[in-house]
Structure formats: structure tokens, C-alpha cells
């Protein structure tokens, strides 16, 4: 078992087989730096619980295909990314920090799917981006491809 500590000082025990899906922790273990508790100063306990849930489910990924659990895993993944925006971003940051490739793929794809049909205004609001383009610059971009800004699928809602 490996012990992880979140930035709000909560400790979690995770099976080594699960936790080595994180390249970062795998390297730490290989280098012998994971003897006691591994502190994760960038991850809060709420996010870490999600990440551990994912790691436990994806343990022994290779075996899933043999045992016919592939569909089960797919369903889990679909359910897993069914979370709020901010939660999703926290998981992306954590996956990036811990270097968990598959989780990164899953969450970035989910973020892309949610953004795909959004209007510019909606994207700014969802990602808390301040528009720093001038009106002229904006108009120029629109004039280059006005068709990309029109269409029934474009969604101005923020969720």
C-alpha cells in the first residue's frame, strides 16, 4: 500500500498496483522515495478521492479485454466524467500533475466535447477568461470565417 496526502492534510491508502498508473508516483517508488507518506501539495482531498476512484477501477487495464470487462470500463468512464466543470478541471490538473495518461485523455476529451459547440461568450464565461481583444481585432477574426460563428448548433448556455 502507498499513502497519499492531499493539500488539506487527509491521508489515503492506495494499492501500489493502482497508484503506479501515475508515472510520477511510479518513478518515486522506483527511486525509493515513497517510503512513507507522499504529499500532494497541488491536490485537494475531494479531487484526490475522484482520482483514486479512477485508479482503482482501472487497475490491471490490460486484463479488462480478456475478461470481457471492457464495456463495463467504458460505462464507468462515461459516468466518471459526468461532473461539474470546475470539478473536471481540478481532475485535469491533478491528472497532469500526477502524469496519468489515460485519465488525462479521458478528461481533456470530455472538456473538448463540452466546448465544441459553445459560443465565444459562453467559453469565456465557462473558463473565466477576460476578453482582451479590441473590437476591431474581434471583427477581423469574424470576417475571416463568418460561417464559423453562425449555425443552429452554437450554444450560448454555460454548463
Amino acid at each position: 500500500m502507498v499513502k497519499l496526502k492531499s493539500n488539506d492534510d487527509k491521508e489515503f491508502e492506495v494499492e501500489e498496483a493502482a497508484v503506479i498508473q501515475s508515472e510520477m508516483i511510479k518513478n518515486m517508488i522506483e527511486d525509493g522515495c515513497a517510503t512513507s507518506v507522499i504529499p500532494l501539495p497541488n491536490i485537494d482531498s475531494k479531487t484526490l478521492i475522484k482520482v483514486i476512484e479512477y485508479l482503482n477501477k482501472h487497475i490491471n487495464m490490460g486484463k479488462a479485454a480478456e475478461t470481457g470487462e471492457e464495456d463495463d470500463l467504458k460505462e464507468f468512464d462515461e459516468q466518471f466524467v459526468n461532473m461539474g466543470w470546475e470539478e473536471l478541471f481540478d481532475v485535469i490538473m491533478a491528472a497532469n500533475y500526477l502524469n496519468i495518461h489515460e485519465l488525462m485523455e479521458l478528461c481533456c476529451q470530455s472538456a473538448a466535447d463540452r466546448l465544441k459547440n459553445k459560443s465565444v461568450r459562453a467559453v469565456r464565461e465557462m473558463l473565466k477568461i477576460t476578453n482582451d481583444l479590441t473590437e476591431e481585432e474581434e471583427q477581423e477574426i469574424i470576417n475571416d470565417a463568418p460561417w464559423a460563428f453562425e449555425g443552429p448548433e452554437i450554444d450560448d448556455t454555460v454548463n
Binding site: V120, A145, A148
Partner: protein, 386 residues
């Protein structure tokens, strides 16, 4: 969650790129308006490359581009394995005709990395064939420099990418002798030599030169009939042997041969015709350049079809075919599955040409498609009938 003005939620650039590179081109063109940071990021050539690479690796949604009812161009997703041919006309995209007006004729030769090589004749000078590169996902196009070829001379051409120079290349092979190559960035055509020992080229049944393994391919007539290849990175002609017993020169039995690329492999369709039926034998060369690796992929006999071109191989092995049918104008599509049926079923719908294979990549053509070396998906061949 940290927030930082134009960047917003404090993601590092790597994460933003990871998310954005999964978006379709249309979304990206729109999202350039989000902030200065996003605009700069999406306009970066290395972002374009990453986007293309991801699109090429994603084999989930191959697309096909085709021209129907004269001048409506459609780009559509193919859904394997149970290809529903009725879904073909889902996403309509109109070709942004060059110089405004509609052309007198249009031929789409081929597609590579989502860019399409198009030949256009205008009403005011129907003898002059203008070659253009078109990126359907950004709707941008570039007219290529004109060539030294005589306007009347027939030729066929192909589009490929030279990874050594990092440039797209267009090769034109004349029926007579002359061949020219254009490196798109340099913008000027260069005459290339003739392959030694190859007397003539047999191009009549090819929409375009087939590009695979860094080389263009077509059927050549030499002492040993073969596939002729021209490697663009080192400028060398080579010959690749045909399967045993196959001859390029048509005799009484063999009506014709077509060379194309199917799933990154050279593919030859030989059409054998007798009184009542056509027999199509499709061969692929599983290991590039190795004669023993020619494999017969399938044989189709039909009394209704008189031409067949394999277009795309799905992951389950089923192949999408573009065919000519005695009862239909233009082309019809079917698959190798017996029960596939065909599309379009209505005789009033004409498909003039179509084609895919680039799989599915979409392009971020941020600047001109030429400069950024952008991609999209597809490929066609059509000749407008007036």
C-alpha cells in the same frame, strides 16, 4: 481554482493545447475570438501540426467528400461497420468557388492531410486548367502557379508530403513524356527526368497518382510491366513488380487496371469483361515493395456494375466501393458486404465523383492552407458533364 485574465482558469499552456487540439476546425476558428492568448495559440504552426497529427490518428470518424447534382459538395462521416448509406448527405458543405463564379468544369484529383487538389476550368478560358489546393475545413484555397505543360496535353497529378523538406509536393505526369514537380512552398515547377526503361505511363484509369510511403505511384509500361514509383525525398524512380500474371496492357479480356491506395497499401483493381458480366479483382500489396506480398483482397462479379474503385477500408475489413452502374448516371457507392445495397438509390440524384481516404483528419487552416500545411479529410474525382 486560480484565474488569470486572458488565460482564464490557471491551466498551463500544455493543458489548453491538449484540450483545444481535440476540437473541430469550425470551433477553433470561432474560439480565436476568445482572447489574445487563445488567438495566438490557435494560430501557431505547431498547434496546427499537433491538431493534424491527432486527427490522423483518430480513425473513429472517416469522412468522405463528394459532389452531387452538379455543384453541391458534401462532406460526410462514414459510420462503420454497419454503413448506413442513407446518412451520406448529413453535412453539406459548399465549395467556395475560386474567383466567385462557378467554373465550367471541376476535377478533384486527390486528397492528402485533409487538403484537396482541384483542377478548375473557367468559362472565360476553358482550355486553361487551373490547379488549386483547397482546404474544405477552413474553406480556404490557393491557386497554384501555372505550369509549362501545353494546355492541351493530358496528364494526371497527385499530392503528397515530403517529410524531409517539410513541404507538400504536387507531381504531374504527362501521357507523352514530360513530368513536373511543384514544391508548394517554393511555388515553382521543376521538370524531372524520365524513368529509365519505362516507355510510357498508363494513366487512363487513374483519378490521380497514388501517394504512399513517401512516393507517388502509377502504372508504367516497361519491359517488365510494373507499378512505377517516384520517391519525392530523393527524386528516384523505381519499379514495383505486379502480381504474377497481371499485365498492364489491355488485351481482349482485361479491360483496365486502376491503381489506388487502400489503408496505406498499394491497391490494384483489374477489371475483366466478358459478354455478360464484369469481374473485378482487387489486389493489395501488404508489404510495400515486396512482390510476394500481393494478396487478392476480394473478387466481385456483376452484370450491373462496369467500373469499381475501392475507396476506404473500415476497421472490420469491409471496403467502401465507388462504382459505375449501367442504370445510373455518375457514381454509386456500395460496400463489399453482399447486403450493403447502394447509394444513391434515386436515379435523379447524381454523384459525380467522390472519394476519401485520408481517413478523417480535419484541418486547422489558420493561414492559407499552403503555408501552414494544413489538413482536413478526403478526396474526390469528378468531371462535370455539361
Amino acid at each position: 481554482m486560480d484565474v488569470d485574465g486572458g488565460r482564464g482558469i490557471h491551466f498551463n499552456e500544455e493543458i489548453v493545447v491538449d484540450i483545444l487540439s481535440r476540437l473541430p476546425v469550425r470551433s477553433l476558428l470561432r474560439f480565436k475570438c476568445v482572447s489574445k492568448f487563445w488567438m495566438a495559440l490557435i494560430s501557431e504552426p505547431c498547434f496546427t501540426l499537433k491538431h493534424l497529427k491527432l486527427a490522423k490518428n483518430n480513425q473513429n470518424s472517416p469522412k468522405i467528400l463528394f459532389l452531387k447534382n452538379m455543384f453541391s459538395l458534401y462532406l460526410s462521416s462514414l459510420t462503420p461497420p454497419s454503413l448506413s448509406l442513407t446518412q451520406f448527405t448529413e453535412d453539406v458543405q459548399n465549395l467556395d468557388w475560386l474567383y466567385g463564379g462557378k467554373p465550367w468544369s471541376c476535377k478533384i484529383y486527390c486528397c492528402y492531410d485533409g487538403m484537396v487538389l482541384v483542377g478548375v476550368r473557367r468559362y472565360d478560358n476553358i482550355n486553361h486548367l487551373i490547379l488549386c489546393l483547397w482546404n474544405p475545413s477552413t474553406r480556404e484555397s490557393t491557386v497554384l502557379p501555372s505550369t509549362k505543360f501545353l494546355p492541351s496535353e493530358d496528364y494526371t497529378c497527385g499530392l503528397g508530403y515530403d517529410s524531409t523538406s517539410g513541404d507538400y509536393m504536387i507531381l504531374k505526369i504527362g501521357y507523352q513524356s514530360c513530368s513536373e514537380i511543384l514544391a508548394v512552398k517554393s511555388g515553382s515547377w521543376r521538370i524531372i527526368g524520365k524513368p529509365t526503361g519505362i516507355y510510357s505511363s498508363w494513366l487512363s484509369d487513374m483519378d490521380s497518382l497514388a501517394f504512399v510511403h513517401g512516393a507517388f505511384h502509377w502504372l508504367g509500361l516497361s519491359r517488365n510491366e510494373s507499378v512505377t514509383s517516384y520517391d519525392i525525398s530523393n527524386g528516384v524512380f523505381k519499379e514495383i513488380p505486379l502480381p504474377d500474371g497481371m499485365f498492364v496492357v489491355p488485351d481482349m479480356k482485361y479491360v483496365k487496371h486502376g491503381l489506388s491506395v487502400l489503408g496505406e497499401m498499394i491497391c490494384i483493381c483489374s477489371t475483366h469483361h466478358d459478354q455478360w458480366k464484369h469481374t473485378f479483382n482487387v489486389w493489395i500489396m501488404k508489404e510495400y515493395g515486396v512482390k510476394e506480398s500481393w494478396n487478392r483482397l476480394f473478387t466481385i462479379q456483376s452484370s450491373d456494375l462496369y467500373s469499381l474503385i475501392p475507396e476506404y477500408r473500415f476497421s472490420d475489413g469491409e471496403v467502401l466501393l465507388r462504382c459505375k452502374h449501367f442504370d445510373h448516371c455518375g457514381y454509386i457507392f456500395k460496400t463489399t458486404k453482399e447486403s450493403s445495397g447502394f447509394w444513391p438509390q434515386s436515379r435523379s440524384e447524381w454523384v459525380w465523383g467522390a472519394r476519401d481516404r485520408a481517413g478523417n483528419c480535419e484541418t486547422v487552416g489558420i493561414s492559407s492552407p499552403v503555408e501552414s500545411g494544413d489538413p482536413l479529410s478526403t478526396n474526390i474525382a469528378l468531371e462535370r458533364a455539361l
